[in-house]
């Protein structure tokens, strides 16, 4: 279970999260919506451990452990995954090498033996087939020369191969055409069960047609100002964030 209490964070002295509370239980899908500059991306990055942000107050616990005290790689080892809005290109590192290194790093952290090359290949092939990715992506450098949609698909491939417990997806729908959106949603939905928790950060309601959330939260001015179920997203789609902005 993820418990965020009164979380405050800033970037270069500017307060971006101003007291955010959120509880996410295993099996739940939470959508965080809000206007530009509301702090949506900040929340994703702070949870993943980005050093670009200063946490100035509040607590975050994940399965009883103090998440904020852990460096980024340790959070990943504890099952936290961030799907990037802008996945990073890494020339010279092939996708398959990257994923195998990541799996083994996480296994090592958990005191488990390394995955065998054969076992890894089988896993990778299965997940790539499921996401309708061409086998050539294995040997291509991470995200280098990928289209917007291919980069997002690659994020979902990492998600499926690493199989984390807390999945944070930062605007995974931005820059996606409808086919790519289908595939991304298929990947995410395939993980939906009582063992996985999801936080979907999105600007648009459209994503939620494909990944139906249990809860929708409106983030404005660095805190959650309204929470509801799926109907809240449809309401926002119809009326915008104006009412919430005034209320904030």
């Amino acid at each position: 279970m993820l418990e965020i209490k009164n979380l405050q964070a800033s970037h270069e002295g500017r307060a971006l999260l101003t007291g955010l509370d959120l509880v996410v239980r295993p099996g739940e899908v939470h959508a965080i919506m809000g206007p530009n500059g509301a702090g949506k991306s900040t929340l994703s990055k702070v949870l993943s451990g980005s050093e670009d942000y200063d946490v100035t107050g509040g607590t975050v616990t994940w399965n009883g452990k103090d998440l904020l005290a852990m460096p980024t790689e340790e959070r990943a080892g504890e099952g936290v995954f961030l799907g990037f809005q802008y996945p990073v290109e890494i020339p010279g590192v092939t996708n398959d090498y990257f994923l195998r290194t990541a799996i083994n790093a996480q296994r090592k952290r958990r005191g488990e033996p390394e995955i065998s090359p054969g076992e890894f290949l089988k896993l990778l092939n299965a997940k790539m087939a499921f996401l309708e990715m061409d086998a050539s992506f294995k040997r291509r450098f991470v995200n280098v020369g990928f289209s917007g949609g291919e980069k997002k698909r690659n994020e979902i491939l990492q998600l499926l191969v690493l199989d984390p417990k807390l999945v944070i997806l930062d605007e995974i729908d931005s820059g996606l055409d409808i086919d790519a959106l289908h595939v991304v949603a298929k990947g995410v939905n395939s993980l939906r069960d009582s063992g996985h928790a999801f936080v979907l950060v999105t600007h648009y309601q459209r994503l939620l047609d494909y990944i139906v959330p249990d809860f929708v939260h409106v983030l404005v001015g660095g805190k959650i100002v309204r929470s509801g179920d799926r109907s809240l997203a449809l309401d926002l789609e119809a009326h915008g964030y104006a009412a919430d902005r005034v209320g904030a």
Binding site: S48, G49, S50, E51, P71, T72, E73, R75, A76, G77, F81, L82, F84, P87, V88, I90, P91, G92, V93, F98, T101, A102, A105, Q106, R109, F141, Q158, L162
Partner: protein, 433 residues
């Protein structure tokens, strides 16, 4: 110091029996060395590398007998793919450790044997290397003990590399070796020559290697030098290369040792359609020092040259890329590029990158670029979000940075070996941080 070299030359020559042309050449070269002398401290070409060690250290020639440490050193670097493997210890061929080829398209001989028997050698020896102008080449010419002469016959396609292993052994006194490598790749041939430079730890040495490589019409020559010397083992390397019509020259210089390396490749694209790809990579640590002074001359039209040098510097190490492309008046449609990329892993490490173009033709395409920087924090963060720890993330990114150059090496066992040495070096560098 110069006088010491002269008296040492007299002793070195005492009792030698060799053809008159070589004796004359040695005498002339010694005179040139005395005239040219070691570069002065203010010499711009030597701005980044101190020659103090060569001025104060009394280097001597020395033979070596059986040595278990040396055996292990050589054994670890042998290449299973090699069609010939010549081991040179302290400048002299070690016949017991060497093996010659059986392929009829390839002739590999000790220089000492070729000197005695080959009528064409006087034309090849000293033809490409500017021994009158460059102190270390003059010195090598005056003092050369032995070396390797490689001839690739017209049209021959030699799969495995000719591997030359240069070792300086440990000794009470600093050791100097002046080996020479002469390669003639005849028209339409294809071959690889790999030079590995090793040294027994703890000893002070100077390996002053001179290479003369001739790439004939439509021939393809791959040339890889890997230096793994310990600290206090110095490598001076002058590589003179001439590429003829439609010939292709591919070089990869890898500096992964702990001592000093100064490499001066001089490549002349002499006839139309010739090309040269010069790659360099160095991973330096401690007080290691690698100074690359590259000169590529486009003499004829429609030639291509590429220089890609990648350096990773840690500790107090220093990496220098000083590259010049000269495009002569007749070299129209020249396509030349220079690229020097450097990553600094410590505050005390230093990278110097100085690409230069001298263009005297008007219809040319020339580009150069340099970067000196740190690892990209966004890339580091991305790897860490996937569970890869900071030290491993640094290692992965640094290995990726040099991979472009490593992966271009033609011979697979040599490529595997290089990858292994790069990884080992990076592990050591990361540990030391």
């Amino acid at each position: 110091m110069i006088t010491t070299w002269r008296s040492s030359h007299a002793a070195f020559r005492d009792g030698a029996v060799e053809p008159a042309w070589l004796a004359t050449l040695r005498r002339d070269a010694l005179a040139c060395f005395e005239k040219v002398g070691f570069p002065a401290p203010r010499d711009e070409a030597w701005r980044y590398t101190s020659l103090q060690v060569f001025k104060v250290t009394p280097f001597v020639h020395q033979d070596v007998g059986a040595n278990a440490e040396l055996d292990a050193l050589v054994a670890a670097q042998r290449l299973p793919s090699a069609v010939a493997e010549i081991v040179i210890v302290n400048g002299r061929i070690d016949a017991a450790r060497s093996r010659y080829p059986t392929d009829p398209g390839l002739t590999v001989r000790p220089l000492s044997a070729a000197v005695a028997s080959d009528d064409t050698l006087p034309q090849a020896f000293g033809r490409l290397a500017p021994w009158r102008d460059v102190a270390f080449i003059a010195l090598n010419t005056a003092f050369v003990q032995d070396g390797v002469v490689v001839q690739v016959a017209k049209g021959a396609d030699i799969a495995g590399p000719v591997h030359v292993i240069l070792v300086s052994s440990g000794g009470a006194q600093p050791i100097v070796a002046n080996p020479r490598l002469i390669v003639q790749a005849d028209a339409g041939s294809r071959a690889s020559v790999i030079v590995s430079v090793l040294g027994v730890a703890g000893a002070t040495s100077l390996t002053n290697l001179v290479e003369e490589l001739q790439v004939g019409p439509n021939a393809e020559l791959h040339h890889h030098v890997l230096a793994l010397q310990p600290a206090n083992a110095n490598l001076m390397l002058n590589s003179s290369v001439r590429v003829e019509r439609d010939g292709r020259y591919h070089a990869l210089a890898a500096w992964l040792g702990e001592g000093l390396v100064r490499h001066e490749p001089r490549v002349v694209l002499a006839e139309p359609g010739a090309s040269a790809h010069l790659d360099g990579l160095y991973v330096l640590d401690g007080s290691a020092h690698a100074d690359n002074r590259v000169v590529v001359e486009h003499v004829a039209p429609r030639c291509i040259s590429r220089q890609t040098y990648k350096g990773v510097m840690s500790g107090r190490s220093k990496g220098v890329f000083d590259g010049t492309v000269i495009v002569h008046r007749d070299a129209q449609h020249t396509d030349a590029s220079q690229d020097s990329r450097n990553v600094l892993l410590s505050d005390d490490a230093e990278a110097n990158a100085k690409p230069r173009l001298e263009i005297y033709a008007d219809d040319v395409k020339c580009a150069h670029g340099t970067t000196v920087g740190r690892l990209d924090p966004e890339q580091l963060n991305y790897l860490r979000t996937r569970g890869i720890g900071l030290a491993d993330a640094r290692r992965v990114l640094t290995a990726a940075f040099v991979a472009e150059v490593v992966e271009r090496l033609r011979d697979e066992p040599a490529r595997d070996r290089l990858r292994r040495h790069v990884d080992a070096r990076l592990n050591k560098v990361m540990e030391a941080r």
